[in-house]
């Protein structure tokens, strides 16, 4: 297999991963359209970053929002769309950074502690995501930033707490199963 073929194959695999994860996250977002600020998308992006690195993780986040933000039943606003696209990459980056921090250690031991850690890793990037989107919202709709942040606080906190719960409960099983699948490929 020459280098070009290897490169093409590698890129094909990457694209397949990104597309599959994007499809999954977009589908779950539409499925949960009636449940405000409770989404599985962030977890999928995070898992993508954790398993396949920052570039793939961030790409999953960006492309998911590219489609979901453009065809969104709630509405479309270009600046907010761009902001969410960029902000969503924070989950992919967090996943990749956490993978590096944990090293090659298995996730089998210390389940409770790891779940708590993953829960906080669901919470903290969500704070950044919500802050970023609030800043853009405030600038687009000419609302004072402090008002934008605190008026929407119940939604923000719901988003953060929901992500903490979803990340804490689901991250390790999903990463374990997908990790085995990837290794077995």
């Amino acid at each position: 297999m020459d280098n070009l073929t290897k490169l093409l194959r590698m890129n094909t695999v990457k694209i397949a991963i990104i597309v599959t994860f994007c499809a999954l996250s977009i589908a779950t977002n539409y499925a949960l359209i009636g449940v405000s600020n409770v989404k599985v998308m962030d977890l999928i992006v995070f898992v993508g970053g954790f398993l396949f690195g920052a570039v793939i993780g961030s790409s999953i986040g960006m492309f998911s929002w590219l489609i979901y933000g453009a065809i969104n039943p709630i509405g479309f606003h270009p600046q907010i769309w761009l902001a969410t696209m960029l902000a969503e990459t924070v989950y992919g980056l967090t996943g990749a950074v956490l993978r590096k921090a944990l090293g090659s250690a298995s996730l089998d031991g210390r389940r409770l502690r790891l779940s708590v850690l993953f829960a906080t890793m669901g919470f903290l990037p969500t704070v950044l995501y919500d802050m970023a989107t609030n800043v853009v919202y405030a600038s687009v709709f000419q609302v004072p930033l402090v008002v934008a942040i605190f008026e929407g606080a119940p939604f923000t906190v719901l988003h953060e707490v929901a992500n903490a719960a979803i990340f804490g409960v689901c991250s390790i099983p999903i990463i374990t199963v997908l990790g085995k699948m990837v290794k077995g490929r």
Binding site: A101, L102, R113, T120, V147, I149, F150, A153, E160
Partner: protein, 151 residues
């Protein structure tokens, strides 16, 4: 993986999340409060209410109680104590305050304080609108002589 072994790092992360969530909510409720108080500004007044049970116990004072402008003495009393009353065409008649009932010759009457001193309540408590900074006293008083003596 070393930092996962350190429970204090996890505790700090959890506390950080908790602090952020509660700070957001505190900010939210602060804005709600300021918004609401701006809307009802001038519509909230302060009043002082005293309750003399007429049984030798100390007078209970509720100073600077916030109430809506236009509230009656009956509203204010219900806000601060448990009231047993009977409604009639002439207004609410108080039977007991804080489970201390009327018992002849001691009867619940009310007084209003002004620069002229104490004024005997001229109407039923639910017909009397409490004013800004007004002081009103419920007194379970001997009414065998009428009008009863000032508090």
């Amino acid at each position: 993986m070393a930092f996962v072994e350190n429970k204090w790092i996890l505790a700090v992360l959890v506390m950080l999340c908790w602090a952020l969530a509660t700070s957001f909510m505190a900010g939210h409720y602060y804005f709600q409060y300021t918004d609401l108080s701006a809307k009802v500004k001038e519509r909230i007044i302060s009043a002082n209410l005293g309750i003399n049970y007429g049984n030798g116990s100390d007078i209970r004072w509720f100073n600077e109680t916030k109430i809506n402008a236009g509230s009656t003495l009956f509203d204010l009393t219900k806000l601060l104590s448990s009231v047993n009353y009977t409604g009639s065409l002439s207004g609410a008649s108080i039977n007991a305050i804080d489970s201390v009932p009327n018992s002849y010759p001691r009867w619940w009457v009310w007084w209003s304080h002004s620069s002229y001193g104490w004024t005997f309540g001229p109407v039923s408590c639910d017909r009397y609108i409490v004013g800004e900074n007004e002081t009103v006293l419920w007194y379970r008083q001997d009414i065998s002589t009428y009008p009863p003596p000032q508090p």
